[in-house]
Amino acid sequence: MTESLLSVRDLRVVFGNRVVLRELSFDVYSGDCLAIIGPNGSGKTVLLKALQHLIPYEGEIHWRQDARLGYVPQSVAADRQLPLRVRELLAAKARFLRLADREIEQVSSELDLSPEFANAGIGTLSGGQFQKVLLAFALLGRPNVLLFDEPTASLDELSEERIYEFVHELQCRRGITFILVSHDLSIVYRYASRVLCLSKGKSCMGPPKEILTPEMLEELYGAPPKYYRHIEEH
């Protein structure tokens, strides 16, 4: 069996007296698209942060040595008054990671960022444009793993569709591994190769067909799914 890209063993995250993640173990392989689902407060975002060592945790999180992570958070509480242009932000990351100048051009062309867009102040961007900047920021440095934390939650359906299509295309073209947190089960069904459910400190994992059943969803969310019914074969 090939070496896993990410190996998580007995992961436990505790905030005060509250156990958010309890003895969680799973593996992720290159090219996987792992969707993490679960009700609010089940620890999905906490898991993504722990995977990047951004919060304290117990247990083991081991990334393969060649793993390069790109992270797109749900939102960024950036100061809209900040006198910062998109290209200045991207250039700062590129310099910090000692990337060649052409990397910014490459990402800009992949995401179709115009020179006007790159020159815009981050405070002047719309929600969709801002998410595009976060995606560009994540893609800089040619990551082979993308961590998405509901990055399209504030976008309209069309923008959401475009972003996922783009990421799916990246996955096919570059073999990027994708770890996604989403409440949108149709997105999960369409793109995920495996699903990790988190609920009340418990977890389950498997292919979408096995996990996204009405029974499992009812158990997971504590109520029968009213809006989701998958009828098309994946």
Partner: protein, 273 residues
């Protein structure tokens, strides 16, 4: 007062060594103004204006003790300034207390202890500074400190930009955010220390913050913002110095510098509208 003597000597065509030491003071004040503009720009963007204000007050107890022991006030001021800075950083990292609450406590403690231990005759100078003559060694040390501030900020620039945008994304990119915060606090304190001689414990942070606030009103581009902050700071020091020495005939120039910088800020508000 030393500096009053220096002013008088200069007017009366005093000795060249006195003139030289006075030139050192003016030159160092100008260098401080540039450092203040740079540091202030970042402090404003980091939204730590109030915290910055308190940091300068941390010097007061040390200044008071130094006056009592009759040692160089900057040694005492510098010691409590840096210890206090480390304390603030530690509190921020460990307790997660609201910065405002910490600021209130530290501000009151520093001011209370400082006022208590500083001899009455030195209190005015400790609070508002003085344009005293400066030795070559003092000038060189001050210049080295300003160079250190500028080089450190240039070195931290990219990490600061990432952190300003989002601490979380900066950390995910590999920036050690707590260390960066400490680095910036120390750079801030060092700038305050350089300005302590001219502006005193109460006013040195004012020159760091007000010109940056003025620049923010005038431009929305980062490079211009930093340059305008430095220029505004320099103009405030120059105009404050000229007005104090030539019109008010006083060596306590800090209050005048602050008033000039406030007037420039008021003008910037008009321009914005």
């Amino acid at each position: 007062m030393n500096e009053a003597k220096a002013v008088r000597s200069r007017k009366d065509g005093g000795s060249s060594s006195v003139d030289a030491s006075y030139s050192y003071t003016v030159l160092l004040a100008a260098l401080f103004a540039i450092a203040a503009g740079l540091v202030g720009s970042v402090a404003l963007m980091k939204r730590m204006v109030l915290a910055s204000d308190v940091i300068s007050h941390l010097a007061l107890p040390g200044l008071g003790v130094a006056f009592l022991l009759k040692i160089n006030p900057l040694v005492g001021g510098g010691a409590t300034l840096f210890l206090g800075t480390l304390l603030i950083w530690q509190l921020q990292q460990k307790t997660g207390l609201a910065t405002d609450a910490m600021i209130g406590v530290v501000f009151a403690a520093a001011l209370g202890i400082g006022a208590l231990v500083t001899p009455n005759e030195d209190l005015l100078e400790a609070l508002f500074g003085n344009f005293q003559k400066l030795s070559l060694a003092g000038f060189l040390l001050g210049t080295a400190a300003v160079i250190l501030v500028v080089v450190s900020l240039v070195h931290m620039k990219d990490r600061l930009i990432l952190d300003l945008f989002s601490s979380e994304l900066a950390a995910a990119t590999g920036v050690n955010v707590p260390r960066l915060d400490l680095g910036f606090l120390l750079v801030f304190s060092l700038t305050v220390l350089v300005g302590l001689r001219f502006m005193g414990a109460l006013l040195s942070s004012a020159l760091i913050i007000i010109p940056a606030a003025t620049a923010r009103q005038l431009t929305g581009r980062m490079t211009q913002f930093v340059v305008v902050a430095c220029v505004t700071s320099l103009v405030s020091v120059a105009a404050g110095f000229v007005i104090s020495t030539l019109i008010f005939k006083t060596s306590t120039v800090g209050p005048t510098i602050v008033i000039v910088s406030v007037l420039l800020f008021a003008l910037s508000l008009l321009k914005k509208k």
